[in-house]
């Protein structure tokens, strides 16, 4: 492997992503776990930069690190006493089986299309810009229907959340 800026960047972001992930599952403290999760997500944003997708990188930082981190923070704050517990989850065998199954599904789901007997698709040579992405989302023969459906779904979820959180009287 050639040693250049991209390779170095890839290693740094991999360390961030995996190290952050390990931090999330090993720390006993919910708040520190949140911070580790953000480190991990930041590494993923770095991958997007390396893949010349700055829009996705910025959205990764904005949506995951900005918004979800704050949501998690709220959850942590509202259950602050939970962080002081010393009991451990001890059902090791079911957790082991579940995580192994998930790992295998992901492993095959990702590697089979790449290394399996499927005809390999060439990566497109055209560099897509943010403008192309935006046009594809609103064009009639592009992704306008999924885009609109997702918007309606998110709006419905938001209204539902407000409806549940509302007081009965008002």
């Amino acid at each position: 492997m050639e040693l250049n800026a991209v390779t170095v960047g890839f290693f740094v972001f991999t360390i961030l992503t995996l190290g952050g992930g390990i931090g999330v599952v090993t720390t006993r403290n919910l708040f520190q776990g949140t911070i580790w999760l953000m480190v991990s997500l930041f590494g993923v944003a770095g991958y997007f930069v390396l893949l010349s997708a700055p829009f996705l990188a910025a959205v990764q930082v904005l949506v995951y690190i900005g918004a979800i981190a704050i949501l998690i923070t709220f959850a942590v704050m509202l259950t602050r006493s939970v962080t002081r517990i010393n009991e451990r989850y001890i059902r090791t065998i079911p957790s082991f089986v579940a995580s192994l199954a998930l790992f295998l599904v992901l492993l095959f789901g990702i590697t089979v299309p790449i290394f399996g007997d499927y005809p390999s698709e060439m990566a497109p040579t055209v560099v897509m810009t943010t403008r192309d992405l935006g046009v594809a989302l609103v064009e009639g023969n592009g992704y306008v229907a999924p885009f609109l459906l997702a918007s309606v779904l998110l709006t419905a979820a938001m209204i539902g959340a407000i409806f549940i959180a509302r007081d009965e009287e008002s």
Binding site: F31, I35, A58, I65, I70, T130
Partner: protein, 408 residues
């Protein structure tokens, strides 16, 4: 700093240096320059802020150290550096020390996409405006971390309020930011400024500017939105446990953020470096940007030192029931108007190359839409104000009656 990079790069290669090394060194110099401008500015900003605040409050302000007290900031800096660096025993050591760094970095990183002149900028990101929003969210995180890691109830309470305030006001801020992005048809800061060659965006949508101005005042935690450091309620807010230079970094981040927002508003709504003779020399262009940013900055100081603090429920209600609907309505109306005008052929399809005459019809129609909205809003506000006043008069009357009844 593109121009400098090529210049320095070329010079080093010509004098026999390795090409890769030359590029690295010139990039490093560029990074130092882009981050150095805000770092040096903040030293002067602290003096300006104290002087302006003093004048507004009928005081003189710093006047002992150096001419006009100019050296006061350096004296304060030395004092902060000499102070004992305390970390509370029960604090989360790593997060406690990381929070001020992240807080300051979140402001300095914004300067990466700020174009100082048409030729001098850190990077011209295709997603400049989005980058600004993404980076700004890191600041919230830093304050939350600081509040939690201090392990102090006042710090945590302060942090709670900050998150509530900053997350809420980010919504109208982004909706207001979308208006220049939509008009320019690009998220690149350079394109947004260039698209204002025909007409500054503040004329096309003064309402978007007003929303952006109010939200950024809230984002920096300045009065009337200074819940973050409500001294009378929270002792000092999220940074109560911080001392010495760590406190200084939060302090500097806030001061710099205010000025950064002034520069951003100049770029997004006031044509950035556009002004008479800006094409003659990059220095003149830089001067115009600085002047516009400074004027906006001074008005925020003026506002900060004039108005009292609002209650948290008032601030939230103002945001969710007034600013957010208004910013959404503004965006929808303006985008619909722009599309219709483009279909009719009145508005230019590409703002980047549009001249003053080409933009004029768009400007007039958009300004009219905004003025109608403002007139309608003022009507509503007037009615609400009258109702509130009537209510308070009735309440006072009732209170007076009770008081006199008790006296009998």
């Amino acid at each position: 700093m593109d121009e400098l990079c090529t210049g320095l790069c070329k010079l080093m290669v010509e004098s026999g240096a390795d090409a890769g090394l030359a590029q690295f060194v010139s990039l490093l110099v560029g990074v130092l320059l882009v981050s150095g401008v805000p770092l040096l500015t903040v030293i002067i900003l602290i003096w300006v802020e104290r002087k302006v605040a003093a004048r507004i409050q009928d005081r003189i302000g710093p006047n002992r150290v150096g001419p006009l007290g100019l050296m006061q900031t350096f004296a304060d800096l030395l004092k902060l550096l000499g102070k004992e660096d305390i970390t509370p025993t029960s604090a989360d050591r790593v997060l406690y020390n990381a929070a001020p760094l992240v807080s300051f970095a979140s402001v300095v990183l914004i300067w990466v996409v700020v174009p100082f002149t048409p030729f001098h900028f850190g990077v011209d990101l295709e997603i400049g405006a989005l980058y600004f929003v993404a980076i700004a969210s890191l600041g919230t995180l830093a304050i939350m971390t600081a509040g939690w890691a201090s392990n102090n109830k006042y710090a945590l309470l302060g942090a709670f309020r900050v998150v509530a305030l900053l997350v809420s006001y980010e919504v109208p801020l982004v909706f207001a930011l979308l208006v220049p992005v939509m008009l320019a048809g690009s998220m690149s800061m350079l394109d947004i400024v260039n698209a204002q060659t025909g007409m500054w965006f503040v004329v096309l949508s003064p309402l978007a500017f007003a929303i952006f101005y109010i939200s950024s005042q809230a984002e920096t935690g300045r009065a009337p939105f200074d819940l973050i450091e409500a001294e009378s309620e929270l002792v000092a807010g999220f940074n109560i446990e911080y001392s010495g230079m760590k406190f200084g970094m939060f302090f500097a981040a806030e001061f710099l953020h205010v000025f950064t927002n002034g520069i951003l508003m100049a770029l997004l709504f006031f044509g950035g470096w556009m002004g008479p003779l800006y094409y003659e020399s990059p220095l003149i262009a830089f001067g115009w940007l600085g002047l516009k940013g400074a004027i906006i900055y001074l008005t925020t100081l003026w506002l900060r030192n004039t108005v009292p603090r609002l209650r948290i429920d008032q601030i939230m209600a103002f945001n969710w029931k007034f600013l957010v609907p208004l910013s959404i309505a503004n965006l929808i109306l303006l985008s619909a108007a722009l599309k219709i005008m483009q279909e009719l052929g009145i508005a230019p399809r590409d703002m980047l190359s549009a001249s003053f005459v080409e933009v004029l019809p768009t400007t007039v129609i958009m300004l009219l839409i905004n003025l109608v909205m403002v007139a309608y809003l003022l009507g509503i506000l007037r009615k609400r104000g009258q109702e509130a006043r009537r209510e308070s008069v009735t309440n006072q009357g009732a209170l007076a009656q009770v008081a006199s009844g008790a006296g009998d």
